[in-house]
C-alpha cells in the first residue's frame, strides 16, 4: 500500500467519524440551549434541562422500564440464539438451510411490518399489550443477531478440545458447559451488548405492543408532540453517556475474558 492511498484512506475514515459525530455533538449542544426549542441561533445557555430530567419522575421511570425490558429480552435472545447456533453450526441435516432462513427471518422483516405482525399475532395469542408483549417482541427480533454472532465464534472452536473432554468421560452436556460455553463467552457478551442497545432504542415495536408504561423512546415520541425541546436532547445525552459507559466497560471486560480463555 503506497503512502498516497494510505493518506486518502485515513481521510475517508476521519470524514466518516465527522459525519457520525457532528449530529451527535449538535444534539448534545442543544441540550444546553435556553429556549423551548432546539436550533440555531443559541442566544443563552442553561443547565435547567438537565436538572429537570431528574425532577420529572416519568423520565427516570421510563429509563428503568426500558432497561428492564432490554435485559429480560436480551436474556431470552441469548438463551435461544445460542441454542440455535449450536444446532446449526458444523452440523449437516435435512432442512438446515430452511432452519437458517427461519432463524434470520425476524432480522430481515422491515421495522414497521414486524411491529404490525407482532401486534396481530399477540392479539391472536391473547397476549395483552404491555411489558410482557414488548419483551417478547424484542427477544424474537434479536435472536438472529445472537445466533449469527455465536455461530461465527463457534466455527473457530477447536474440535480437539471437545473430543479430549469426551475422552476423559464428560457427557455432552458437561462438555458443553465446561468447554464450549466458556469459549463462547466473548461472543455472547458482544451479542448481548448489541441486543441490549437494539432493544433499548426500539420505538416501533414498543409502541405497538406497549401498555400504560412508556419506554424511553415511546415517551420521547409523546413529548415530541409539544415540540422538540432541549429537554429531549438532555434525556438522550444522559442515556447516551450511560450506554456508552456500559459499552466501553463491556469491551474492556470482554478483552480481559478473551485473554483468560
Amino acid at each position: 500500500m503506497n503512502r498516497g492511498n494510505r493518506i486518502l484512506l485515513s481521510c475517508v475514515y476521519w470524514a466518516f467519524v465527522l459525519y457520525v459525530f457532528v449530529p451527535l455533538l449538535l444534539m448534545i449542544l442543544m441540550g444546553f440551549k435556553d429556549s423551548k426549542f432546539i436550533g440555531f441561533p443559541i442566544r443563552s445557555w442553561t443547565l435547567d434541562w438537565y436538572t429537570g430530567v431528574f425532577d420529572d419522575a416519568a423520565v427516570p421511570s421510563a429509563f428503568v422500564y426500558s432497561v428492564v425490558i432490554a435485559v429480560l429480552a436480551t436474556m431470552i435472545s441469548v438463551f435461544v440464539g445460542t441454542w440455535i447456533a449450536v444446532l446449526l453450526e458444523g452440523r449437516k441435516f435435512l432442512g438446515r438451510t430452511a432452519m437458517f432462513g427461519l432463524t434470520v427471518l425476524p432480522a430481515l422483516v422491515p421495522g414497521i411490518i414486524s411491529a404490525i405482525a407482532f401486534r396481530i399475532y399477540a392479539r391472536w395469542l391473547g397476549i395483552e399489550p404491555g411489558m410482557g408483549a414488548i419483551v417478547w417482541a424484542h427477544a424474537v427480533h434479536n435472536v438472529p443477531f445472537v445466533a449469527l454472532v455465536v455461530m461465527a465464534r463457534l466455527s473457530t472452536l477447536p474440535k480437539s478440545q471437545i473430543e479430549a473432554a469426551r475422552d476423559l468421560g464428560a457427557d455432552p452436556i458437561i462438555a458443553f458447559l465446561r468447554i464450549t460455553l466458556p469459549y463462547l463467552v466473548p461472543a455472547i457478551l458482544g451479542a448481548s451488548i448489541f441486543c441490549l442497545l437494539l432493544s433499548f432504542d426500539d420505538f416501533v415495536r414498543s409502541f405497538f405492543l406497549g401498555g400504560y408504561e412508556p419506554t424511553l423512546p415511546v415517551l420521547i415520541f409523546a413529548k415530541l408532540r409539544s415540540g422538540m425541546s432541549p429537554e429531549i436532547n438532555a434525556i438522550a445525552t444522559i442515556a447516551l453517556v450511560l450506554t456508552a459507559a456500559i459499552g466501553i466497560w463491556a469491551e474492556r471486560f470482554t478483552r480481559r475474558m478473551s485473554k483468560d480463555t
Binding site: F37, M131, G132, S226
Partner: protein
Amino acid sequence: MTKLTINRRRFLGTAAVGAATLASPAYLRRANAAGGEVNIWTYNDFVPEAFKKQFEADTGIKVNIRLVDDQGKQFNLLAAEAPNPTVDIMTVAGHRFLQFIDSDLLAPLDTGRLSNWANINPTFSESDWSTINGNKWGAPILSGMEVLSYNTDLVSPEEARSWDVLFSEKYKGQTAYIIQDMMSIVMLKMGYDGNMVAYLDDPEKAAAIVEEAKAFLIEKKPLVRKYYDSGAEVQQMFINQDIALGHSWNGPAAALINDGFPLAMTIPKEGSYGFVYTYNIANNAPNADNAYTFLDAILASPEIGASMTKASGFISTYKDASQYLTDLEKKSTSFSDDELENLQFFRAEANEMKYGLVDPAVEAIKAA
C-alpha cells in the same frame, strides 16, 4: 434532595410493579383496577402534573396515563381492546366523535353527574357538533384551529390575509402544510362546504369537489417545501427558516410565539376550521365512577384550564381561564372578533363520505 430521593423510590417502585404485572394473570389485574384507579389515554401535557398529584392525594384514586400522539392510533388501540377496554377516559377531537360512537366505543356523558359542567364556556359545551343522537359525548377541554402562521420578519400581515399566499410564486419552496387539513381548507376557499355535510345527498358533487381540490393541490405541489404531520415538525421548520409561512394548528404556533420567536398567526379571510379536544368516557369503562370523579375535578377551576393552555398552546374551553395567563400567553391564544367570525367547527356527519374521498386524494397528491 428530598425530592430526588422520593422520585427515585417512586420509579424503582414502578419498575417492580411492571415486573409484577408481567407475572400476574389478566383477571387479577382487572380486579385490582376496580380498587382505586382511573386509566387515561391523552396527549402529553393535557393532564397538568400538579393537578394529577393533588387529585391522587385528595381522592386516593391513582391516575394512570398512557400518552398517545395520534387520533387514528388511539382509535385502533381502542378498537383492538373492545368490548372490554382497559381505558376509562380518552381524548377525542370533537369532530371524530361519530366514528367512535358508530363503533360503540364511547359511553354517553351524563352531565348531571358533573357538578362543574357549567364551568365550561357554552360556545364549546353547547356547540352544534357536541350533541349527537340527543346525548353529550365528551367534556370539552381545549380548542384548536387551523391557522395561517408566518414569520413576521419575512412575511407582512397584509400578505397573510388570504390563504392564497401559501400558493404564491413569491414564497416558492418556503411553505408547508398538513395535507389532509389543507384539503378541507382548499374546499372552503373554493366556496364549498369543507365538512361536506351539504353534499350528503349528492355524492357525485362531493366527489367532483374533492377532485377539484386535489387537482389544485397537485398543480401547486412544485411550490411547497414539505407536507408535514406533527406540530414539532412545523416548529422546527420555522426555527431553521426552512419555511417562511405555513398552515398549522394554533397550539404549536402559540408555543413558538411564547418562546419569543417572531411568529404570528391569523385566520385568513376565506375562513378556517376549529376543533375541540374532549375527555370522553369509554363504553364499558372498568372504572367509570372514578372517571366521573376525575372529570368533575379537572373541570373545577379555570386555573387548571389555564395550565393546560400554557403547556399545549391550545385555547382553553373554561370560562375565565384567560385571567390566569400572562400577556404573551393571552396574545398567543386569542384572535380578533373579525377573525373568529370566519371560523367554523369541523362537523362529523359526513365524515365517512368525506374521508372515503379525501384519503385516496391525499395518497394521489403525495404520489404525484
